[in-house]
Symmetry: C2
Subunit: 443 residues, 2 copies
């Protein structure tokens, strides 16, 4: 059936706007509930995502989740625009990438803000400790996970290596969000965790390249890998050098700008430039966003930049975390389904290794000053989107059995949901009254 | 050729981030130039769009513009990700809608801010005047344009009606942006123009429905049209009633919210709700965004809302205006191409009618207080995106000749570019020193 472009555009707008509406109402409602239980709001955003997503009301369903869109939503839009529900579903799927693009903007903004609020000197001071935490936190889960799967559960080597690799990288977004909200970002523990999360993200990308090369076929060449490692080192060095030197240049440019919105646009140029550079050398754009924030953290305009970025974080990082929740398929959790049992047992093993490996990393560094090693270890725990990326690659390459896929998903879900809860339990609530009364949101 | 999902995602990120980078650098550079010439920055954003768009460097090319993507851009991304330039172009086109979605967010944010900064009492006080200006500014260009094309240029009736209709609606976005930057938004003239632009947008939608029905085939029924008119009236009434009553409710909800980012998210919920409602009853989502701002203008949190929305406007409304510029095909302006001459002559006629009709509307209202009627008339002049929507519909339905298409495009380009320039000339620069020194951007 043919519909006029006017009808199709109306349906598109209704879907785009309606999705935002559903996401914000759900995220806000659950976040308000969790704040009263003294839990971080990010947990609320994830739970909201699950509730409205593929495992819940089917209001926000990523096209690759392969579940029906809620009839309430598609029916409403269909009746308002007088096109068929099938056409609505088609437009829904077609326009979903723009929601994901907005959520990416949210992730970049969050990491930019995290870099901006980081203390560069503190970050450099904890550099050695962060490196130790990162390496331990990558090696332990990878080795224990791969070996355990292969020898205890008789999983073939390649899928076992893949599952082990999926446990390596901490989700810097979730960690940054929790530490930011609990106001521990500028503490020594916060800086160690952020530094280590950035480093293990880089390590994760290198591991990913290796694993993809192994899976992709025997012809494993050292050249590209060496290039990637060099790029990673160059990235860290250049980011550190620029964060010492580039801020005055930025300030002098901004001071000369006269058109309105100068600070917001100028910092966005730096942000997108760093994202482009990071992606161009084979790293993740999100790492570039963090570096951009770090570079501008020495600017005299940080306060204005902060004000410009915070609304983007409040709005679009919420979309990012809700979308992570919507993609999670919780039906694999049902123990009454016999098909799930194998996955659940493997999942329990992976979850224990994933938690123990990262928590143990908290005890791996030397420190003269007293720091809470448990906070560092728990901070490294959430795998979030990075684990999901591995899962997506593995299931796309058809190297994972359904049980192993479910187990990796459960490991990601478990670490992602447990980390904010456990951190909240461990971190004393000294700043409680101040937070509740503060009119200025922390994120 | 097959590429790994990793390569494709890298290309996607590079394109998405790279487009933002190009847009912001170009827009900022030209805007800075124009601010020094005391011209509004929106003009710079449009010019930047032309420079990097389909008529310029081909860096930002909307997929429907059917021009080649710049080899520099696609070649760079292709060599960085090791996929073919053809694949890059394919991803470019596929991901372009998310840039447009972000630009729509910018338009909604701008109109939301315009509503928020409007003085409701002033807007109601000028309601009668705004209505007169809106009706005159719709009727004059429509009647003169249609009649002139039909009788002077012997254009058949249906395309003539279509071209006339394309001249009716003022671009509220451009007008709001110019008045905001010149700090005339809260003056009587600004409020008349904003009120009239909102009303003639509503009239434009009704006219569009009529024209589409006529073009679509003989069976023209009064029912849907009546429904649309009723919806339009209901929308204005409900928006006015809510703007008197809903703000205290909003305030009491926000006061009870405790999770971070409360004001930003709560106002975004109102914004998306109003956009959805407006689109649901057959009006434009952008009108809902203006109504949402108006409703919250009586809130005691307006200052916080303002701070949360301004970065969105600075970033994404820029994308919106740049994209308008990129879609403009200035090659029809070349008088040395004989194929263009007919279009240029018709365009000159349409441009005169389009300007005269709206400027004359500035003299159509009664006022006891002295107001600058020329400012009102020029403020109503830019057609911008609304004219382009008509043009798109007409060319899609194949009812316009190439010459008439070019003429409508030139009318849109002419009014859009001339309005900010002429307004700047007419509005005295008394607030000049204050603007230059103010660290707080006006938008």
């Amino acid at each position: 059936m043919e519909f006029s472009s006017h009808q199709l555009e109306a349906a598109e707008t209704l879907l785009q706007v309606g999705r935002f509406l559903v996401i914000f109402i759900a995220a806000r409602a659950i976040a308000e509930l969790l704040v009263r239980l003294q839990l971080p709001t990010i947990l609320g955003e994830l739970v909201a995502g699950v509730l409205i997503g593929a495992s819940g009301l089917h209001l926000i369903v990523p096209p690759d989740a392969r579940v029906e869109l809620s009839g309430v939503f598609s029916g409403l839009v269909a009746s308002l625009t007088e096109i068929t529900p099938e056409a609505v579903r088609h437009i829904y799927d077609e326009t979903f990438p723009s929601l994901q693009a907005v959520s990416q903007l949210g992730l970049y903004s969050l990491l930019f803000l995290t870099g901006l609020e980081s203390e560069l000197d503190e970050l450099v001071a904890v550099g050695g400790q962060a490196t130790t935490v990162a390496i331990t936190g990558v090696v332990l889960p990878f080795v224990l996970g791969t070996a355990g799967l292969h020898y205890l559960f008789h999983v073939p080597l390649i899928p076992a290596v893949f599952a082990g690799a999926a446990m390596t990288a901490t989700s810097i977004g979730i960690t940054a969000s929790v530490f930011g909200e609990l106001r521990w970002l500028k503490r020594r523990e916060g800086q160690i965790v952020i530094g280590a999360a950035v480093l293990d993200d880089i390590l994760g990308i290198v591991i990913l390249a290796v694993v993809v090369a192994i899976v992709g076929g025997g012809a494993f060449s050292v050249g590209p890998l060496l290039k990637l490692c060099l790029a990673a080192v160059a990235f860290v060095v250049v980011a550190l050098v620029l964060s010492r030197t580039a801020a005055p240049l930025f300030d002098s440019v901004v001071d000369r700008l006269k058109a309105p919105g100068d600070v917001a646009v100028a910092s966005f140029v730096v942000l997108t430039l760093c994202c482009f550079a990071a992606q161009a050398i084979g790293l993740e754009a999100a790492l570039g966003a963090f570096a951009a924030g770090l570079i501008l953290s020495a600017s005299k305009h940080t306060e204005d930049i902060d004000k410009a970025v915070k609304p983007l974080v409040a709005l679009f990082a919420t979309v990012f975390f809700v979308l992570i929740g919507t993609a999670m398929d919780l039906s694999v959790l049902n123990p009454f389904n016999p098909a799930n049992r194998e996955g659940l047992i493997v999942a329990a093993f992976l979850l224990v290794v994933a938690i123990a490996g990262k928590v143990a990393a908290g005890w791996s560094y030397l420190s003269k000053e007293p720091t809470s090693r448990l906070v560092v270890g728990l901070g490294m725990m959430p795998r979030g989107e990075v684990g999901l990326i591995f899962l997506g690659l593995g299931s796309q390459a058809r190297i994972l059995t359904p049980a192993l896929e479910a187990a990796i998903l459960l490991m990601v879900i478990g670490t992602t949901f447990l980390a904010p809860i456990l951190l909240r339990v461990v971190i004393p609530s000294e700043s409680e009254p101040a937070t509740a009364e503060a009119s200025q949101p922390s994120l």
